[in-house]
């Protein structure tokens, strides 16, 4: 896989990584000839985010079909995962990013060295090269279907942002009650029996919000549905949609089946699907408990314990409203892959860790902090030199040539969908105003 991004695409890419970083720790990359997929899943596997980056997002994008070498290894590295945090740090928006003119990403497998290579072409011919270890894996795919969801709505992210302002910052879960002609959002917390120790600390602010369905761009709910899901993941996608100025759509069914939130930027730039597990209400789950499903994670056992406590409490006390319980897990499926039929030798891949090669080397001297001991500074210079050597003069020249051809390409092809043009123009305007004054 090889992709080249222009400077205008870097900010959306940073936001995409930021959004993924709020949900999971690993980035699953899957390159297909017609699109690049970014995905992540949270630790409890209750939320899964999928970004589809279409070729229009990039200046150039190319990926091979699956190529398998004699060891059964996928040399094209069509599916792999890297740690998200270092990647986010590379693209974090700041002053250093303003100098970047274009970015080249490449999945490179040479011998035993699997690396995601990111080359940032900066002003004055400076090149910054980052290399991240990646590990080959089967692609990550949550099982869900937007088309099969009977209920859906679309709303401006600004309005949802206003809604969530009313809720307490510490709130973890939210209940959404939808009817064909009304919608209510309610903060959801475990109800505590009234005769327990009378303290304020264990009780939380309860918020209920009833919204006019006229506020929605599209509202299509066929029947009654009440679902409970995690608020933190929802906030991740809403803040992303807000930053991108795009509306959010939701596709959902009944309690227990996942809710899908989507953000897309047309035409064919990117699409985000965020799948969040919803909570099965206590009583409903008890009915199902005859077919008791083994809890796959240690977290599940904890929840079971608390469930038992809840139940024993319940037996002693007056009936209370139904207690929603454990999360339904989103089944994250790993479809059969060519490589999976032949198990990979375990020791062949280095463990996921970072050696000196991967450390980010700030090449621009202005960015270097003033107080740093000489030894580390020397090491840094050495590393910088090594990086330059690694890139090689030919590479630099070639890169410059490429940049030239890119310019030509962009000028020749005005049909390429423009990303964040308004923001870009705004910046331009500000510069002009400064000059005028």
């Amino acid at each position: 896989m090889e992709a080249v991004l222009s400077s205008v695409a870097l900010k959306p890419l940073a936001k995409i990584l930021q959004c993924l970083g709020k949900i999971g720790e690993d980035l699953y990359i899957q390159s297909r000839p017609n699109k690049l997929l970014f995905a992540t899943v949270n630790a409890s596997r209750s939320a899964c985010a999928h970004f589809t980056l279409h070729p229009g997002f990039f200046d150039t994008y190319s990926a091979e079909e699956h190529v398998v070498d004699e060891h059964g290894r996928d040399t094209g590295a069509s599916s792999c995962h890297v740690l998200l945090k270092p990647l986010m740090n590379i693209f974090r928006h700041g002053k250093a990013m303003d100098n970047v003119e274009s970015c080249r990403m490449k999945l490179q497998s040479a011998g035993d060295q699997d690396r995601l290579v990111i080359v940032l072409h900066c002003k004055h011919g400076v090149l910054k090269t980052h290399k991240l270890h990646f590990e080959l894996c089967d692609p990550l795919a949550a099982i869900y279907s937007k088309n099969a969801s009977p209920h859906k709505w679309t709303i401006s992210s600004k309005i949802t942002h206003d809604w969530l302002l009313h809720f307490s910052n510490k709130l973890e879960e939210i209940a959404m009650r939808c009817k064909p002609d009304s919608i209510a959002l309610k903060s959801f917390t475990e109800t505590i029996a009234a005769d327990e120790e009378d303290q304020l600390g264990c009780r939380t602010l309860q918020t209920e919000l009833q919204v006019d369905v006229e506020d929605f761009d599209m509202y299509d709910v066929k029947g009654d549905s009440e679902i409970i899901f995690d608020l933190k993941n929802l906030k991740a996608i809403l803040s992303f949609a807000d930053q991108m100025g795009q509306p959010v759509s939701a596709f959902f069914n009944e309690a227990g089946s996942p809710i899908v939130f989507t953000v897309t930027q047309t035409p064919d730039l990117y699409a985000l699907d965020l799948v969040i597990a919803t909570t099965i209400p206590f009583e409903a789950e008890e009915m199902h408990s005859t077919a008791s499903r083994p809890e796959p994670q240690p977290q599940g056992t904890q929840e079971n314990q608390s469930q038992h406590q809840e139940r024993s409490k319940k037996s002693m006390q007056t009936p209370r409203p139904p207690q929603p319980r454990s999360h339904a897990e989103i089944y994250v499926d790993r479809p059969p892959n060519i490589t999976s039929s032949q198990p990979l030798p375990e020791n062949k891949f280095p463990p996921l860790q970072y050696d000196d090669d991967d450390e980010m080397v700030p090449l621009s001297l202005q960015n270097r902090p003033q107080f740093r001991n000489l030894a580390s500074e020397m090491a840094e210079v050495e590393r910088a030199v090594r990086d330059y050597e690694h890139v090689g003069v030919d590479d630099v020249l070639m890169a410059e040539q490429d940049l030239d051809t890119q310019k030509e390409l962009t000028s020749q092809a005005p049909s390429r969908p423009q990303l964040l043009t308004s923001a870009y123009r705004q910046n331009f305007k500000i510069i002009e105003i400064h000059r005028a004054s």
């Binding site: 009313h166 009780r203 602010l205 309860q206 209920e208 919000l209 919204v211 506020d215």
Partner: protein
């Protein structure tokens, strides 16, 4: 026990709540027929900072009703953070109804808010703020502390100015000495090992204090002999900064009273004049030795 009202001046109530939010995790709100009081800190512990706030109910409410077996007084304890969060939703609302309710067996201060969304459509919001209703023996502890009469009383300069200064001083030392005299002079002093910083104000007003019936207050026997003699009190910097959070309400009149070596009393008036019906905060900051 019944309590209900329509909030007419949510903005003022939010500002009042915000200015005392940082004082403590929980505070007590006392509803009586005439007044709404905010009480922070128990008087049984005279070592800690305390705050008593009050405002006449008709300044913020209408259709106000309070009934209880305890002399028509209702004491509720609330979490500062939750109360402020819930109240903030009333900002620029079309209609807000407040009532004391019981939900799932828990007492709540329930706010029913009607608002309009960005697009002009109706938005109905309920904020249930958890409260704990205090028993009569607990509420009996909540009385204003008794202090000796002050040596000095002086009008403070604008609190926003003081706040900027105090935040600088906070970085230097943990305690601040507040000193003032009856000649319009105020000094804030911080002493650290390496540095000693003093900020002094001149030309401030020493107001004449009167009694409720309008007669001038009798001169206390402990009064200083000279107008230019200073009274000092050394207080915890954090307490002083907490008091300065009341700059949110942008008060015109703040009277600082110093009981030499013992305590600092601060009267913050929310209204244009020194009328406690328009809203008043009284801060009691005890002196710290070392």
């Amino acid at each position: 026990m019944r309590l209900r009202a329509r909030i007419t001046n949510a903005g003022l109530l939010i500002k009042m709540a915000q200015s005392v939010e940082k004082l403590s995790k929980t505070w007590v709100i006392l509803f009586t027929r005439e007044y709404v009081h905010f009480i922070v800190g128990k008087s049984s512990v005279s070592e800690t900072m305390q705050m008593f706030g009050q405002i006449k109910q008709d300044r913020i409410f209408e259709e106000y009703l309070v009934e209880s077996a305890l002399n028509n007084q209702i004491f509720v304890e609330v979490s500062a953070e939750q109360f402020v969060r819930g109240l903030k939703s009333c900002h620029q609302a079309l209609d807000v109804k407040l009532k004391l309710a019981k939900k799932d067996g828990w007492p709540m201060l329930s706010l029913n808010i009607t608002n309009s969304s960005r697009t002009g459509n109706r938005l109905y919001l309920t904020q249930d703020i958890p409260v704990r209703v205090l028993q009569s023996d607990e509420s009996a502890e909540l009385t204003e502390p008794e202090v000796e009469s002050q040596q000095v009383h002086i009008l403070l300069p604008p609190l926003n100015d003081l706040k900027t200064i105090a935040e600088r001083l906070k970085a230097i030392g943990t305690h601040v000495v507040v000193a003032a005299n009856m000649n319009g002079e105020l000094v804030l002093k911080v002493v650290a090992d390496a540095v000693r910083v003093e900020t002094s104000f001149k030309g401030l007003i020493n107001p004449e204090l009167g009694q409720p019936d309008g007669t001038p207050a009798p001169t206390p026997q402990t009064a200083l002999k000279h107008r230019t003699a200073f009274a000092h009190v050394r207080v915890d910097m954090r307490d002083f900064v907490k008091f300065l959070h009341s700059s949110i309400v942008n008060p015109k009149n703040v009277i600082c009273c110093i009981v030499d070596g013992q305590s600092l009393l601060l009267y913050v008036y929310l209204g244009q004049n020194t009328d406690s019906d328009d809203g008043q905060f009284i801060y009691f900051i005890p002196a710290r030795s070392h």
